[in-house]
Symmetry: D2
Subunit: 139 residues, 4 copies
């Protein structure tokens, strides 16, 4: 059970491949970010809203498991699920091959809400994030 979920599709571009002809492991961080941004957009509390409210939400921890390799033009489904939003934002990620449904990659991130001016960590989620989640759970 997660508070909110979003799925996006990507097609592996040439410039993400390494000499083994597979996606270089560091590029999965980009794939998780695209899915996370879409999840936060769905909640209605993404980067522009954070900036407007005076918050930053840096990644404090990220764990990645590389299960299978992916190659040129492979179509991937990236799911991001919000697992926790207080005291920190915990998001899980799963990447599957769209055709075979094979799991390619799993990850999780933990983000801490920080006041952009005082640089203090906040343990309550921003009001805008909580309201966005409430709207989403009703709809």
């Amino acid at each position: 059970m997660s508070y909110a979920e979003e799925e996006i599709e990507i097609e592996v571009p040439f410039f993400d491949l390494d000499p083994m002809n597979v996606v270089w492991h560091g590029n999965y961080v980009k794939y998780t970010e695209i899915a996370r941004c879409k999840l936060l957009e769905k909640i209605g509390y993404s980067y522009p809203e954070m900036v407007r409210d005076g918050y930053v939400y840096p990644i404090a921890k990220m764990d990645m498991k590389f299960i299978k390799s992916a190659t040129l033009s492979q179509k991937l489904l990236i799911k991001a699920s919000l697992e926790e939003y207080e005291p920190s934002l915990k998001i899980k990620y799963e990447i599957k091959d769209i055709q075979s449904k094979d799991v390619i990659f799993k990850a999780s991130t933990m983000q801490i809400c920080v006041d952009a001016v005082s640089r203090k960590s906040l343990y309550d989620a921003p009001q805008g994030l909580k309201e966005g989640l409430k709207c989403l759970s009703i709809s």
Copy 2:
């Protein structure tokens, strides 16, 4: 106590920064890779030797902790330490600000040795890697 260690220095380039004017979190994967490659070079068993011997050494797991942010032209010291080489290669990383010695980032990677032809995992480290480590411990 680690089997082998290596340290490198980098200076944060402009293209690694994000709109918050700090290193984008995904770029730390690159910094760890530079240090890991130098550690493996020191051991005498890096990418060209693996290819020659018919092995690949994909990253299977990577965990990252982002402790402080880093910004333009900041000089960073990146240490990679080999913690384990059988049945898998475990390397720890620590990034410090060169001046203040503040710890910026910590990470660990786990790599599994795979036969490039059979695609089977190997639990014994390649002979070349073990010999390299032996030479290093004597010197």
Copy 3:
């Protein structure tokens, strides 16, 4: 008049932004590559076919004009047009904002077909590329 054209859409991701909050100039090279790959797929002669036929097609020249900046989540239309295929592959690119139709960026690339074994440049386009273009002009 071009021999073949293809258009793709992208949405600017966070990790492509620089401290000025706009797409870092080097990332446009990625956008052109995505469009070029789709154009070559449409022709039916992309990276896997080149490898199969024993050719590589390195970029020899690239010129870029940065006209307007692009920012987070902006939707861009990237057009790639094949201008010439013998003795070299010349492709033009234009990036527009999808909504305003403002031109953001223009570029051109020149690629030379090289025999992967002999490393010699070829001045005739590969047969597969010419046949793909013929099919496309008929359809």
Copy 4:
């Protein structure tokens, strides 16, 4: 004859390689940026000084010639030369293999000084840049 020159060395990292085992062409943009930043630091007018004075200096044009390929751990010498500073900043780049002195890559960039607030282009170089160049020519 150029107004100022700077040279830097880099060693090609694994993550810059593509499936052909050579540096992916878009990564040369990063190499030029590292050299350009060092050239501007030498002049004493780099990114922090521009921000302080209220200017931005976006790249308006960039032309690249890819002459030879570069591969893992290859040591490259990157030279940036200031060719013009008014009405626009023109910098030339040349990348050589450190050992063989073979030229790998050439490029040029053109940047326009823009007032960060009014967004107007300036045709006179910032005072700080001109003074930096004067100091450099005397020393």
